[in-house]
């Protein structure tokens, strides 16, 4: 049995229950129960109509729960309202569920948790493990999120940008346990791209694929970080790159550029270079110009300074960098790198050590410490 099959049906099954009048929180619990049941029963007894099976079981669970908890009158209302087997849920229902789970009234962490649970069909335990928090904490996050959106009308159009931010957050969290969050984010973005024709959804999907394709080469066997320029390009997943590039190109011709398409374009140019030396940095600088124009993000400006350093030489990069606040995360690391490229090794070593001290991640700290150590001890790469 495809482990994704029951989970991929989650949003549409949930949508059916909500459309039949179940409130969102109760419907979500019922669908989770049905999923657990599916995982138990399907391997030996696969249903002919998996979605219909899930709807039936989830609806029964929902009614059981409602009966157990509600007053007699309420219970009868629900049973009276029970419709016959309706038409298959439409693509719009799935879409509404994405909007609901990324609703602006939710904090980012709640939206992420609810999306993984209600759209992704992951269990609370899996989500808790992926984010390294206790299961009770994650359960609270999900239940508060559900309560927060319970009052939201299910038929109001949502904002795609909020959904994309949530999926991007899930993807960028990477991989930290049994659940591969990056792969899950790609699956959910694919599903979203099938439900809505939107260039930025395509842009995000392309961005994810282009980065995911390089995953195997990003870390050495000892877990240390391998910078892009030193990665073994033979280990990049060329089929995934081709798919990402294809999706991106189809999106770009529609001439509705957005930040994810621009980021994907940068990733595509890296993926396209047979060696690091053949990278088209001039074009990359142009894409960062677009990105800065679109977002005015300091991080985009910092990345642009790196690209300028490659396209026009380290002095030009340092000049760009001088215009940016040195409080920016990774500013010092970029300065160290540009000074190293410029041949000023003692300044580079000092800045690498300082950057290591301020690194936000363990892998970066170790990487920057190694760079500093290499320069301080005269070991050339």
């Amino acid at each position: 049995m495809n482990e994704f099959l029951p989970r991929s049906l989650t949003p549409s099954v949930l949508a059916v229950l909500v459309r039949r009048g179940a409130d969102f929180a109760a419907a979500e619990d019922a669908v989770q129960d049905a999923l657990v049941e599916a995982v138990r029963v399907w391997p030996d007894d696969p249903p002919r109509d998996p979605k219909g099976w899930l709807v039936t079981v989830a609806w029964r669970r929902f009614l059981d729960a409602a009966r157990a908890e509600s007053a007699r009158r309420r219970r009868e209302d629900l049973v009276d309202e029970e419709p016959g087997p309706g038409p298959a849920p439409s693509v719009d229902d799935t879409l509404q569920l994405y909007f609901l789970c990324a609703h602006p009234s939710l904090t980012p962490s709640w939206a992420v948790a609810l999306t993984l649970r209600a759209v992704g069909g992951l269990t609370t335990r899996q989500i808790a493990q992926a984010y390294l928090v206790p299961e009770a904490t994650m359960a609270q996050r999900i239940s508060r999120a559900k309560r927060t959106v319970s009052g939201v009308r299910f038929d109001r159009p949502g904002d795609v940008a909020t959904v994309l931010r949530v999926l991007y957050l899930v993807f960028n969290e990477g991989y930290s346990g049994d659940v591969d969050l990056a792969a899950e984010a790609i699956r959910l973005t694919r599903q979203l791209a099938a439900a809505i024709d939107h260039p930025e959804v395509a842009g995000l999907l392309a961005l994810m694929l282009l980065h995911h394709a390089r995953r195997a080469s990003r870390t050495a066997p000892d877990g240390s970080l391998v910078p892009l320029a030193e990665q073994d390009r033979g280990r990049w997943d060329s089929a995934m790159i081709a798919e990402g590039v294809g999706i991106l190109q189809a999106a770009l011709v529609r001439d509705r550029l957005g930040e994810f398409q621009a980021q994907a374009a940068v990733a595509a140019l890296h993926a396209d270079a047979p060696t690091a030396g053949e990278t088209d940095w001039v074009q990359i600088v142009e894409w960062y110009d677009e990105l800065v124009a679109l977002t005015d993000s300091p991080v985009a400006r910092l990345n642009r300074a790196v690209a300028v350093g490659e396209a026009d030489g380290p002095r030009a990069g340092l000049a760009e960098l001088a215009a940016l606040s040195d409080a920016l995360p990774r500013h010092t690391a970029v300065a160290a790198y540009l000074h190293e490229r410029d041949g000023d090794l003692s300044t580079a070593a000092r800045l690498y050590a300082e950057a290591a001290h301020r690194a936000p991640t363990l892998a970066e700290r170790d990487h920057l410490t190694r760079r500093a150590a290499r320069l301080n001890t005269g070991h050339r790469p």
Binding site: A113, L132, M138, Q140, L225, L362
Partner: protein, 135 residues
């Protein structure tokens, strides 16, 4: 989301505003303090921000490797140690601002006279896994 350690010191932090050692409080004041800490942790669990909270005994020992085939050397405790950690709380929050806000609330735990201690807490971000998208 980011995890932060809120670190509480027996010794080594700057002096608190209401700086009376706990053994000079009334038993009721001690109970009120403990209750505040428990309520704070419960509240964080309900908001989905709690990861862990632990208290440490004030006295431990120093241990180091002493060579192949030899038992580790132990020493101490050293009374002159500058920093003495009393315990911690680990939170998982949406922003650094939120971490600071929560540390401020924790520092308001009542002490002598039932008044907030205004204790200095150290807020330390966890190093995380690297993000997927870097360039």
């Amino acid at each position: 989301m980011a995890k932060y350690l809120l670190l509480k010191h027996y010794r080594g932090a700057p002096a608190a505003v209401n700086d009376v050692p706990m053994d000079r409080w009334t038993p009721e004041e001690i109970s009120a303090h403990m209750q505040y800490m428990q309520d704070f942790a419960d509240r964080l669990e309900k908001t989905g921000e709690f990861v862990d909270g632990q208290a440490l005994a004030p006295e431990g020992s120093w241990v180091r490797y002493d060579g192949e085939g030899r038992p580790p050397v132990t020493d101490g405790p050293f009374a002159e140690t500058k920093d003495l950690i009393a315990g911690w709380m680990i939170i998982d929050v949406d922003s650094h601002d939120r971490a600071v806000e929560l540390a401020g609330e924790l520092s308001a735990a009542p002490g002598a006279g039932g008044k907030p201690i205004h204790e200095w807490l150290e807020v330390r971000p966890f190093l995380t896994a690297p993000p997927t998208v870097t360039e």
